[in-house]
């Protein structure tokens, strides 16, 4: 079955989540490489979905709000991830969703045979929708069984099916609440998270809303990261099967982040992004910015890095041999073992002096260095300061972190990094001189 692609919606929602109301319709459409008409259509559809599934306990759930308002991040409302509704966007005919809901509800009460389910569906289907036939019901059962929603009971034909209700059957209220909280914590703090958020929603239903009171909040959360999980599982699957993938890549530095796949000559020129084929090796999550990367083997060009958010139209291609895959994986691991993020450049020793905040003040500087400083070590320490050393690929990626300590950090080595930071502090001093 061809997978419905949500590339356009993902690119738009990300843009909306990051820039809020910064652009007008025309500017959005232009940046997405689609016509205003297509943009309006997409907007209408997303609004409908967000309106139906939107956060339950949220101020933004009120009707009639525009999309920007709906997607605007509000900390106290953040217990329901706003962008999760994207994963509920798979299109389904009215008759199908009605029929599936009837079947699932019926199997929640009793275990039933296909024929009994056919009767139940024929009885409950609204008059305006077409009645299902046996083949359709059998197809539904096969699908629901394949996604683990229902179980075929052991026994002779005709087979009986029932809804999977393991949690509701085995756990009492208190245990369900603990499960809800655990799911909430893991979805928010671990990766990947989509299935966790979906599960959390369902557990909230089992608790009849009692768990979903927003009692747990997560501060400094990159909430738009779940959009990038859309491609994640396809990439994981390709890695597992040692398959190359091809995609259209829109670097985040470009002005447009998507182009319509239609043949409208108006947009033909912009569609000139070339499909590239690569062997995916690893996915990297950068906690500093909350961004995902794909690291892949690209033949003559060696190992290349792609921002996962720039990947659209992902397709699986041919497989490579286990030996080839293993060789490239080992190469990659060697190259990025000492990268602060992804730099595969030459290894350098960075030495920096960190200054303690002073007597009587808790040493938050050291605490932070130990907390975030990775594999670096503190080699010397006095009452006033300490020396931190780390061997890292290149100086570019660690620089922002060192700079974030302000005057509590002085880089000693290498000289180039030290000089660059002095220069940057001079420029920053100029930025604020006029105030």
């Amino acid at each position: 079955m061809a997978q419905e692609s949500f590339d356009k919606e993902i690119q738009f929602l990300r843009m909306l989540a990051l820039t809020g109301s910064a652009y007008n319709r025309q500017q959005y459409a232009q940046r997405l490489g689609i016509s205003i008409h297509t943009f309006d259509k997409m907007m209408k559809r997303l609004k409908t979905i967000a309106g139906t599934t939107g956060p339950r306990n949220s101020r933004s759930a009120e009707g009639g709000r525009d999309m920007t308002e709906m997607v605007r991040y509000s900390y106290l409302d953040s217990s329901d991830p706003l962008l999760l509704f994207l994963f509920r966007a798979k299109s389904l005919k009215d008759s199908e969703s009605e029929r599936l809901s009837i079947l699932i509800a019926a199997m929640g009460e009793n275990s039933l045979t296909a024929m009994e389910l056919l009767d139940a569906a024929s009885e409950s289907m609204p008059a305006e929708l077409p009645l299902p036939d046996e083949k359709t019901i059998r197809g539904d059962l096969k699908y629901l069984e394949s996604v683990g929603a229902i179980i075929k009971e052991p026994g002779p034909r005709p087979y009986r099916y029932r809804l999977w209700r393991g949690f509701a059957e085995a756990l009492d209220y208190d245990e369900l609440l603990d499960l809800y909280d655990f799911t909430d914590m893991m979805a928010n703090t671990q990766l990947p998270s989509i299935q966790g958020y979906l599960l959390r929603d369902n557990l909230g239903r089992l608790l009849q809303g009692a768990g979903a009171d927003g009692a747990l909040l997560y501060k400094y959360h990159y909430y738009s990261r779940i959009l990038d999980e859309a491609h994640l599982f396809n990439v994981f699957r390709a890695i597992e099967k040692r398959r190359r993938v091809s995609f259209l890549y829109f670097s985040p530095k470009r002005d447009i982040s998507y182009t319509s796949q239609n043949t409208n000559p108006l947009y033909e020129k912009e569609a000139a992004v070339k499909r590239q084929t690569v062997l995916p090796l690893k996915v990297v999550y950068d906690h500093q910015y909350g961004r995902w990367y794909l690291l892949a083997w690209c033949g003559k060009q060696g190992i290349k890095k792609f921002r996962l958010e720039g990947v659209t139209g992902l397709q699986e291609e041919d497989a490579v041999s286990p030996a080839f895959m293993e060789e490239k994986l080992q190469l990659l691991e060697l190259r990025i073992r000492d990268s602060w993020l992804l730099d595969t450049g030459r290894k350098v020793l960075v030495r920096a002096k960190f200054f303690k905040p002073g007597p009587g003040i808790p040493d938050f500087v050291k605490e932070r260095v130990q907390h975030q400083g990775g594999w670096g070590v503190i080699t010397e320490e006095s009452i006033e300061d300490f020396i931190y050393e780390i061997e890292v690929n290149g100086i570019l990626e660690i620089k922002p972190w060192l700079r974030s300590f302000g005057s509590s950090c002085e880089v000693l080595e290498p000289g180039q990094l030290r000089d660059e930071l002095i220069q940057e502090w001079k420029e920053l001093a100029d930025y604020y001189e006029s105030f």
């Binding site: 599936l100 756990l171 909280d181 914590m185 990766l191 940057e424």
Partner: protein, 276 residues
């Protein structure tokens, strides 16, 4: 595992809700099974519950994504769960007041303070849990690390629903009163890095303005006064890419930091040079 399955569809979901049914797929169960391997699981569940879950999920497939995923620049994970959470979240849910004993940042201890628990908050930066609570006297929202709380006693009777709601709105008002904002301009020469810059601020409540004529982006950041240090570290992190245009305190601090950092470098350069 396709996250866009038919069973997740929004119309199906709302129809199931109407019919009072709930569907949990093997995708979700496989995810949970893998998460139960995390050390936090043994704290988050009572032993009996954990055993039940493991038995319910025993036939599920496990997701083996860890081997394909690399985490970079992550803070050390101090905790994901804290043993006090079970008790505190139930107190919040039931509208109970508490008596708590805890240690302050400066090491002083506070014994048996009356506290109305408002929310539990996890900092993705510090990787720790905090309790946000309202004290009876000060009507100010306090934030205390769960690690610093030495004793919690729940009052025997819950507050009346009206009183609990009133306390919660007081807490909300307290937080709103501590809110400040600043405006940060992205230096147009760095617009190519816009996505990175916006990601770096995406963990705050904010608005972005775009001036098409100047091709300039202004980020209006809303934050709480006690988050100033974190905002400053983000600004220093981004360096020359951004400039604070509104927000006296941030501007003054950035100017001071630049001057102090330069003084540090100058002092040690002079020290190291034989010519003095």
């Amino acid at each position: 595992m396709n996250p866009f399955e038919k069973i997740f569809n929004y119309q199906l979901l709302s129809r199931l809700e109407d019919r009072g049914a709930c569907l949990i797929s093997s995708h979700e169960r496989a995810w949970l099974k893998s998460m139960l391997n995390h050390p936090a699981a043994s704290e988050a569940f009572l032993p009996g519950t954990l055993a039940k879950l493991q038995s319910i999920l025993q036939d599920e497939a496990e997701m083996h994504w860890e081997s394909h995923l690399i985490h970079k620049a992550a803070s050390r994970e101090v905790m994901v769960y804290h043993p006090l959470i079970r008790q505190l979240r139930r107190a919040i849910q039931g509208g109970y007041a508490l008596t708590i004993s805890f240690t302050l940042k400066n090491g002083e201890t506070r014994v048996e303070h009356h506290a109305f628990p408002y929310k539990l908050e996890y900092s993705m930066v510090k990787r720790e849990w905090y309790l946000l609570w309202l004290s009876r006297n000060k009507r100010k929202v306090m934030s205390t690390r769960l690690n610093k709380i030495s004793a919690v006693k729940r009052h025997a009777e819950p507050l009346s629903p009206e009183l609990a709601a009133a306390r919660a709105s007081e807490a909300e008002a307290g937080l709103a009163a501590a809110a400040v904002y600043a405006e940060i301009a992205v230096i147009p020469a760095y617009n190519g890095e816009l996505s990175r810059i916006l990601y770096a601020f995406s963990c705050f409540e904010r608005d972005v303005r775009y001036d098409a004529e100047k091709d300039e982006y202004i980020i209006k950041l809303n934050y709480s006064q006690n988050e100033t240090e974190f905002v400053l570290s983000r600004l220093r992190f981004l360096g020359k890419r951004v400039r604070v245009v509104t927000g006296d305190r941030l501007i003054q601090r950035m100017r001071q930091t630049a001057a102090w950092a330069l003084a540090r470098y100058e002092a040690s350069t002079t020290e190291a040079s034989p010519d003095g």
